[in-house]
Symmetry: C2
Subunit: 470 residues, 2 copies
């Protein structure tokens, strides 16, 4: 009798595989209020690592963290017309506080452009105060009709950057800098996801922006996941909140702004980019646990040896856990670490002690082999480097193999059944885009022929990358 | 004509000094919704450092971070009778979501015992799952009638730990471990605040707890600030949520629990413990900026020198900022760094270059003197160590000098006008406590005669520490 698979195989039912993995690897549970989620410790440790890596890059880009209130007066949202239209259907509204009905209801922030501009308009006086570069790590709420854990949740965790600049060019360049130096660098180098960078069409733009830059990842089922966005807000919010500065030549000018964010949705992207039928596979640079040293049996000498190896790996800079919970069967623990996607397992039993060997199991390429304990730290570090490169290579190859260059809407739809299509934007245009949308296929982003971000929609040779999306 | 003071002097009006400092040092602004606050970048950097130091200690104590939803069904809160009674008057209630009235209103979490128990009851099955040690960093909302920035705000940031244990003793010991190894260690060694540790009386206990341990700091106006609490919850929430485990001998048992938290209120405690008429004084171990190297004038050689010194301090492990904004007058910048409480300033002008010297200004003891640039890193590191010790010494001496041992309620009230009183709990008792409360004087905590935490209210020799509190 064949062993029952731990997870529903991806090929059988990808959404069910995703949900199975999240349950079995103990990443998250559904919350009691529709669309909310409980992020369990292992799931949260993935998010914490994402935060650490991103926070360092955000600070390197000159932004400082701050914190703005959760509650926004309803009237703020209405000041920017497109913005309120975009967010109204998703708002959670507090009508009672401290046992009384409130005079003005407050909304739970769906994003913070409005409340932040209220303060920017106080803090910014002169050109000397610019650029003002702020980031916050926060929870936001957007009422979700079709929730899915990590991907679309009523409450999610994110960072939102908000900046004000003296000129259009400075704001434009900063939005692009965040896209490349913060988001793309993190997603490619740490998450190992070969994202496509591009600009959104008018239809897909953020409510209140003049331009939205985005990073799109291809998941293992060929669908797209928007992994992050960086917006040029122009002077829309500055006008609504009167965010002005005194220029060097003594004139009052409106600031130019950007906003940009990535969220816990990236955890979903990580799962669907790298996970396989045995569970998650976490890229080593992200992994909260890069290696686990497992005692096969509760023999004293074995326990001493796994601890010693744990210390050696730690000294070599590896994020390591020693698993000596030998009252739980070895097989069950091994399956659990596999589900959690820990890149390397070092397994030690009584017989290994004699030979001075250990089993080195590799989650990412798969397989295991006996290795001498002596050089274990070098072997593990080398394995982690290889694995990081392998995941990125797989991600890039999958995306390239599943992206078709097409010239008609029919071909674009066909390609979208299993992957993406690239089609000249001049041929597609907003009308073609609307036709695709009837079939739930969207323009993920516009790219230049060389794969870079085009300067405008109209730039010659601009291609639309289209596909189905989460 | 005397120079106008930057801040209202403490002796003139302490609350106004506090508010002045928060404005002038750009720590925080009031939010638009009553009682909320905007934490500005410098204020937030203080909180970030608190988070880093605490998070490391929490993980060292074995707890893992996780994240539970902001929204709690109203019905959860009603399951633990004392808990709902304690929190009902402070709740913010969401009645509308996604454009519709909700069938069941949801409350914005005032604390998370209830929602966490809902999940603990699913996750905990066997004694092998215990202890379960969880922490979360989150925002919480308690509608505040008399708000004051950082001290009492409708929304605040905090960490809340929640644990489940197999036995009463294990839970009791863990609550005490958090009090000592996480909170007291951080507050004494990093914040430099000589907190008193004790247990709360029944009157002051957390709603739903069987015992509340607390850390109380004396502010510079002699009032007390509760800096943190660690609760033994007994089996109250376990009973309400049926959080059970299968014991080693095969019986279903309710778990024993703890919860514990500290919040952005600590920023207020930091200000009121160490601040003086010139601004904040930040203890070096906490300080996001430990030293600033200032160019007095925009001379190329001076700029080169301050950058070189900045690099040397950074290499010596000092958190340093180079201030070469010479388009802003030097005096204004110096006052600003003083307001922000940066412990050490290294000031360099053209004349210093010739002599190979710099001015070393010390915020904590005060004063400045010329020093040779050659040994600057050693001088700065030594100064930071001295300053850390000085702030703690000042805090301890102030608390001791302003705490009177008394034996009557009248004396306790008198002592409370400028500090604290210690009075035998056997003499005071709940009735005396109620009388003090009529004068807004409360029992901050009960301590043993040797200053340790008493095992029970009834322990012989137990003293009540009483005072006015924030």
């Amino acid at each position: 009798m064949a062993k029952a698979p731990v997870l529903t195989p991806q090929a059988d039912d990808f959404p069910r595989w995703y949900q199975d993995l999240i349950n079995k690897a103990e990443l998250a549970d559904n919350g009691p209020v529709r669309g909310t989620m409980v992020i369990r410790p292992y799931g949260y440790s993935l998010w914490e690592r994402m935060q650490q890596e991103l926070d360092a890059r955000i600070k390197e880009a000159g932004a400082s963290n701050a914190y703005f209130p959760l509650f926004i007066p309803q009237s703020y949202l209405t000041r920017e017309a497109e913005h309120v239209e975009g967010f109204s259907p998703e708002l959670a509204v507090v009508t009672h506080g401290g046992g009384k009905e409130l005079e003005e209801p407050v909304v739970v922030r769906p994003t913070s452009e409005t409340i932040i501009n209220e303060y920017f308009s106080k803090w910014v006086q002169s050109y000397r105060d610019l650029p003002l570069l702020i980031n916050q790590w926060a929870n936001v709420v957007r009422w979700e009709m079709r929730p899915r854990v990590f991907l679309r949740t009523t409450e999610f965790l994110w960072q939102e950057g908000h900046t004000a600049h003296a000129t259009y060019e400075d704001a434009r360049d900063y939005a692009a800098r965040i896209l490349h130096e913060v988001y793309a660098d993190f997603m490619v180098e740490v998450l190992g996801i070969s994202v496509v960078l591009g600009r959104k069409t008018g239809r897909e733009r953020f409510a209140g922006a003049i331009n939205t830059l985005a990073l799109e990842g291809m998941m293992r089922d060929g669908k797209a996941l928007q992994m992050g966005t960086s917006h040029e807000l122009g002077q829309n919010f500055a006008r609504a909140f009167n965010t002005q500065y005194l220029s060097k030549d003594g004139r009052q000018e409106l600031v130019w702004q950007t906003s940009w964010g990535v969220s816990t949705r990236m955890v979903g992207g990580l799962i669907m980019s790298h996970g396989d039928d045995n569970g998650l596979r976490v890229p080593p640079r992200l992994a909260p646990v890069q290696a686990v040293v497992m005692a096969i049996k509760g023999d004293d000498a074995v326990i001493a040896k796994v601890r010693e190896i744990g210390d050696r790996l730690k000294a070599a800079g590896v994020r390591v856990v020693v698993d000596d919970r030998t009252d739980t069967p070895f097989g069950r623990r091994a399956v659990d670490w596999e589900l959690k996607g820990v890149p390397v397992r070092v397994e030690i039993g009584p017989r290994d002690l004699e030979g001075g060997t250990a089993m080195l199991a590799r989650r990412i390429p798969g397989g295991k082999e006996p290795v001498p304990v002596d050089g274990i730290a070098e072997l593990v570090t080398a394995a982690l480097e290889e694995d990081q490169a392998q995941l990125l290579r797989e991600s890039r190859e999958r995306r390239e193999a599943n992206t078709a260059d097409v010239s008609t809407i029919g071909e674009a739809l066909e390609a979208s059944s299993s992957g993406w299509a690239r089609i000249p934007w001049a041929d597609l245009g907003p009308e073609g885009e609307a036709k695709l949308a009837e079939e739930a296929v969207t323009v993920r982003c516009l790219v230049a022929p060389d794969g870079s971000v085009p300067d405008s929609e109209d730039a010659s040779g601009t291609l639309a990358v289209v596909g189905r999306a989460y």
